[in-house]
């Protein structure tokens, strides 16, 4: 019941905060504000620059691009709210678990909280016992599967349905970015940014399999690939729930 109330209140606030401001001078600036409210670490100039570039390449208006971003962000947030409710209903006890071993090229998903929203997080297995992942400040890093803790309840380990050569090459590519690529706060248009350079956790895995396997690990396409989009991509298979 408590979880239901929490989810309802959060959903209400999401709608309330996401409602276009009555003082907005245009739809575009209203969408921009909404996006920056939901992704406050994303710099406005980076967002607008990316939007301009996409609009130019696709022929869409900048407003349409911004509208699409808002739609995708809200979809992700709705998923987060529903999952929070589901974990509560199923009696998640709030424990933690080391993410544990899996095969090279597999990945894990875990809920990941910031002060703004539960955006989720994904990391890839470089070896059976070593994770490669992109985290804020550090960028792409490695961490032992023994030491990497995740919340029990909605975390998962999944494999990618492709050849072992593709899995091997994708993991090698992700590992090759360690220490080179910094973190990027831009989830909203990360499908359109370069594979080389700053990236977040979902972009790392998505790029790895685009480049090595020609797979699009994004359940709903669009402009941004979020951690849940990778988790729910059709070319993935559940290995175990955590």
């Amino acid at each position: 019941m408590k979880k239901h109330v929490v989810t309802t209140v959060l959903a209400f606030c999401l709608v309330a905060f996401s409602a276009p401001s009555a003082f907005a001078q245009s739809h575009s600036s209203s969408y921009t504000d909404e996006i920056l409210q939901m992704q406050p670490d994303l710099k406005k100039e980076d967002l607008l620059s990316s939007v301009r570039s996409i609009a130019k390449n696709t022929g869409d208006t900048e407003e349409a691009v911004l509208k699409q971003i808002v739609k995708e962000l809200k979809q992700d947030q709705m998923k987060a709210s529903k999952e929070a409710e589901k974990v509560g209903t199923m009696g998640g006890k709030g424990g933690t678990v080391p993410v544990g071993n899996s095969s090279k090229g597999d990945f894990f998903y875990t809920a990941s909280q910031t002060a703004y929203l539960n955006h989720g997080h994904v990391g890839m297995y470089y070896t059976s016992s070593t994770i490669v992942e992109s985290v804020p400040d550090t960028g792409v890093r490695t961490i032992s599967t023994t030491l990497r803790k995740v919340d029990q309840g909605d975390a998962q380990v999944k494999s990618v349905t492709t050849s072992s050569a593709n899995r091997e090459n994708a993991a090698n590519w992700a590992y090759s970015r360690v220490g080179i690529d910094d973190y990027s706060y831009n989830f909203v248009t990360n499908r359109k940014t370069s594979h080389i350079g700053d990236k977040n956790c979902s972009k790392l895995i998505w790029s790895a399999y685009v480049l090595h396997g020609n797979l699009d690990l994004d359940v709903d396409g669009g402009l941004g690939v979020y951690p849940r989009d990778v988790r729910d991509a059709p070319d993935t298979r559940l290995i175990r729930n955590i």
Partner: protein, 396 residues
């Protein structure tokens, strides 16, 4: 216009309410320690234990990740000092002095409080400890690959007189700190090589010396299961040898200090498709201890496994009471000292939820239980972030 102002006020009110209910990372004021508290020279006098908690690096996206040093006093009450986050952060304790580390600074708490802000932030800890022979607190970080492609494990070391920085140019799989040296098991992930090294601290730098590379004819993949320990003749460390995604062997390596002869001894094996991580110790950095010629290892199933360093006999003398078998952790921690092991436990069915159990390593009997009031409330007061335990030390 009036409606608009009312709507805005309502949204603001809901915002404040939601923030306080679900996103506020400040701990409950009644359990919160201020800087002035920990600065008192007698602050540690009535403290029995200290625990370290932090959010993980992926949650620091908004720079609002936090860590907590939770102090337990002699009355069984817990209070917390909040700092910036440091995933896998840890504690150094020596002679009524505690070193706390977060991503930006070190604090020495004891007779003379000192705080040192470091120039470069760190995001992942590895190990902290005290080098008695050098009168130095040391904290090592898993810094990451540098721009030249090499690996950095940055080190901060010092005492009340000041702290210096240095670098260990290796990825560290396991580590240990003795009275006069730091021991590391460096891993070359790409080549699957494991090398034992020691790190000596000089006046203004550290010196890393190769000791031995592990024989690995089967090209086994290893994970850390224990700190590196040392007695007069040998170095010891426990690793997990990968069998498949749900099975592993627990193996002890011993390396003779003079001859560098190495031996691999299988302590145990584990296989469980449903709970593949259950045998991983509550904290692999504090999971083993040497006392009177016996090496003690506490695995994640609550089993104490012993290795007699003279006879080389392996045994399982006792198991913690009601130890969970599913691998799900609720901040359980381990601290060995002399003839005892202290275990931070969680029990949903008790009022306090958390307690410290003290077991005799000699008899296996549980000899004391210390209830912890307030820890559950402290941890529950952290909203919108997942916080994990990373270290635990008894202070008296």
């Amino acid at each position: 216009m009036k409606k608009m102002i009312l709507s805005l006020a309502l949204i603001l009110l809901i915002g404040v309410l939601v923030y306080n209910l679900f996103m506020n990372q400040s701990i409950d004021a009644s359990y919160s320690l201020e800087k002035e508290d920990i600065q008192h020279s007698n602050f540690l006098e009535d403290k029995k234990a200290v625990m370290y908690f932090s959010t993980t690096a992926d949650q620091d996206m908004d720079d609002k990740g936090i860590s907590l040093a939770v102090f337990l006093n002699n009355k069984g009450e817990a209070d917390a000092y909040q700092m910036k986050s440091l995933e896998l952060g840890n504690l150094s304790v020596h002679d009524r002095e505690v070193m706390l580390t977060d991503k930006n600074s070190v604090r020495l708490i004891g007779n003379h409080y000192k705080e040192f802000n470091m120039k470069k932030s760190q995001y992942t800890g590895e190990r902290s400890g005290y080098l008695k022979a050098k009168d130095l607190h040391v904290t090592i970080f898993n810094t990451g690959v540098n721009k030249n492609g090499g690996y950095d494990s940055n080190v901060w070391y010092g005492n009340n007189s000041g702290f210096q920085t240095a670098n260990i140019p290796h990825y560290i799989l396991a580590s240990g700190i003795t009275d006069n040296e730091v021991l590391i098991l460096a891993q070359d992930i790409e080549k699957n090589l494991y090398s034992l090294k020691n790190v000596m601290f000089k006046e203004s730098d550290v010196h890393v010396k190769d000791l031995v590379t592990l024989d690995n004819k089967t090209n086994s993949e290893y994970s850390v299961r224990s700190p590196i320990l040392s007695d007069q003749d040998y170095y010891y460390f426990i690793l997990s040898e990968f069998v498949n995604n749900t099975s592993e062997h627990t193996v002890l390596f011993s390396v003779h200090k003079k001859t560098r002869k190495q031996e691999k001894i299988q302590l145990d094996s584990y296989s469980d498709e449903k709970h593949p991580t259950a045998s991983i110790p509550y904290n692999v950095k504090n999971s083993a201890y040497l006392n009177n010629g016996i090496l003690y290892y506490l695995n994640g199933l609550g089993e104490i496994i012993t290795f007699d360093t003279q006879t080389k006999k392996v045994d399982k003398p006792f198991t913690l009471k009601n130890a969970p078998q599913d691998g799900v952790r609720h901040n359980e921690e381990i601290y060995f000292n002399n003839d005892h092991v202290y275990v931070l436990r969680y029990d949903e069915d008790t009022k306090e939820k958390y307690r410290i159990e003290k077991y005799s390593l000699v008899t296996g009997e549980q000899v004391e239980t210390i209830k912890i009031n307030g820890l559950d409330d402290i941890l529950k007061s952290i909203k919108g972030k997942s916080i994990h335990s990373y270290d635990f030390k008894m202070l008296n």
